[in-house]
Symmetry: C2
Amino acid sequence: MHQSELFSKASREAPSDEVSVNAKLLSRAGFIDKLMAGAYSYLPLGLRVLKNIENIIRTEMNELGGQEVLLPSLQPKENWEATGRWKDPGREVMFQLKGRGDREYGLGWTHEEIVTPLAKKFISSYKDLPRAVYQIQTKFRDEPRAKSGLLRGREFIMKDLYSFHTDEQDLIKFYDKARVAYSRIFKSVGLNALQVEASGGAFSKYSHEFQVVTPAGEDIVIRCEVCDFAQNREISEVEGGGACPRCGKKVTAERAIEVGNIFQLKDRFSQAFRLTYKDETGKDHPVLMGCYGIGLTRVLGAVVEVHHDEHGIIWPEAVAPFQAHLIALQNVKSVRAGTDKAYGTLQKEGIEVLYDDRLESSAGEKLTDADLIGIPLRLVVSEKTIAAQSIEVKARAEKNTELIKFQDLGKYFKTRKKIYVE
Amino acid sequence: MHQSELFSKASREAPSDEVSVNAKLLSRAGFIDKLMAGAYSYLPLGLRVLKNIENIIRTEMNELGGQEVLLPSLQPKENWEATGRWKDPGREVMFQLKGRGDREYGLGWTHEEIVTPLAKKFISSYKDLPRAVYQIQTKFRDEPRAKSGLLRGREFIMKDLYSFHTDEQDLIKFYDKARVAYSRIFKSVGLNALQVEASGGAFSKYSHEFQVVTPAGEDIVIRCEVCDFAQNREISEVEGGGACPRCGKKVTAERAIEVGNIFQLKDRFSQAFRLTYKDETGKDHPVLMGCYGIGLTRVLGAVVEVHHDEHGIIWPEAVAPFQAHLIALQNVKSVRAGTDKAYGTLQKEGIEVLYDDRLESSAGEKLTDADLIGIPLRLVVSEKTIAAQSIEVKARAEKNTELIKFQDLGKYFKTRKKIYVE
């Protein structure tokens, strides 16, 4: 894509009302635009990253045996009254509204109240189990504080998967597979997410949260410096500096962003909607459920919190909006012609490239914008490189550059090693 | 995918509260599920069709030069007050709600109020024009009647594109390109959509609607039996049976479904938000806008209204949930083994197959369900075909069948002609 035609423009200054690193950098670089506190527009660059994250998650959910669905956001009051959640937590969390004829609706912040009665239409026998469905969908929450950019939105995108089982053993088997899938997802998008024990509600001892340790986090994680003990401070009986209850070594308290959680719901919702199955003898039992969430827009924000420097964002390759940023450094005929040619070669190789072809920007502006936008691989054509029939290749995160002959550009992309992301 | 594991199940009976053909067939076949009037869940089969429609539309929008974005559904009152639409049409159309601190929001039923101030952040010079952005996104409308299944939803999915231009000539040039793209989209999804003149509002003589003639339609189209004159009855000066104002021949009045519309907004919204650009001499002008909508969920409903028979849906190949429906007719070891082998071959060829492997369904049930689900190509393995080392191939819409040797199955898919859809 030609950068001169891109809908967004990078900006020198962050919006004055943003405090979080993710919102400042993503806004300045033209990935998102704030409509109001907690609601952002995803601009072409931002949507490309979001779709990369989405595809990584979708692949893993399909692999788990999840079937993709799409459930409504506009939900009838009746479903939420069946579980008591219309009143508690009620408006503390949920946007509630009245339409024509004073009909009452809520905007979905989770979908147990929709997916459980839906599953009841298709599940009646042990032969119909196990099942798992998921969606990637917009959710709404009336957050009291919405000041952390994409980390806490009033409107945000989630993947939520719901699983259905005959018994606890089958639920736990699936739950453990989901834990592994989650670890792979976070690693793929460039996040080092800890598995942290958290409150299991009334029905389970623990749930598990996936927490990314970073100063921008709103949660506190207590974890052992030696073993794999890690708990959300909300449930932990030990404080930072104390002794690990598992191995006795020291635990630390650190800020972290919760990017996913998994939860054994057991029969909390199947009881409310009488979702049962008949076993081989014809006896009825409640279906046991699990739920598994990942906040996609929060993951996007967390990636930026973790992967940036003083100049801008540094995207992990798997989620970067483009694979390479091609820059015609000077507005000189030979440089333009050389960069056009390189662009043609890259397109033929199927490499997704943002081509900075802007005529009126200085070399300095182009490099500053490229630092801000953060595409992991940069290809610069300048009068100097043209003289050597070459293109300068530089990883966003590194100082070193490499000269590649124009004729070797296609081969370079076929054989190069992916940039390492910790 | 193995049909025995599919989340949904086909049902003999339509939900008692559905009157439209599209909702009855799509519900019975397990593509959608009604949560309440005007709000449906898209089940795995339905979502697959929706994604096929989405990809056809996305390809054409990118080809037009559109850049994909995603704008919020939850929108501040202030933006809608700027154009007067908070009050008029106001609650007639829009769900309006209050959140914490009595802050007022509306749920987006269109996005001019969001995209115009957004464009103002990036467009200031003639050099920034033209531009076009689009989204594929969930919209909300507080419809008084929501009884036509997917044809009129309170929550529905739309593609809306907005274009920005320096002058009317440039706007019209883009508008005409969009008309051609729309015609291609509807043809691709299997709809014969007329281009119909409709009200242009206060600023243009006409807008254009894309109307699919079918008894289920809620609009009336007046069209000439000979020339290409076609108008929405709302603006037409001639009645059905009258003389065509263009060629003098007879016009008819027919019911039709509006699946898309395109509209020259000109400066209606750029004036409200002071979206202007500087020309080469530094003089300010309002940016001229166009908007271009397609209802994806409505398209899905319209396809079913047009493509069905007394037994069920007949999907056009381009949008079908699977390319082929493979059926193991009898629950006999040789048939099961033969069908498993065929399934393996088809998967290796990259053919998307729904494999009816259900052990407890009779041959009759399987064929009845296949008729209802409507995958355009059916592959049946039975004791009879096994004896001939073959598989029976049948187009959903036709009576004739063809026997293909197991060993020729891969070749058949490489060379077969696509099923024709009018």
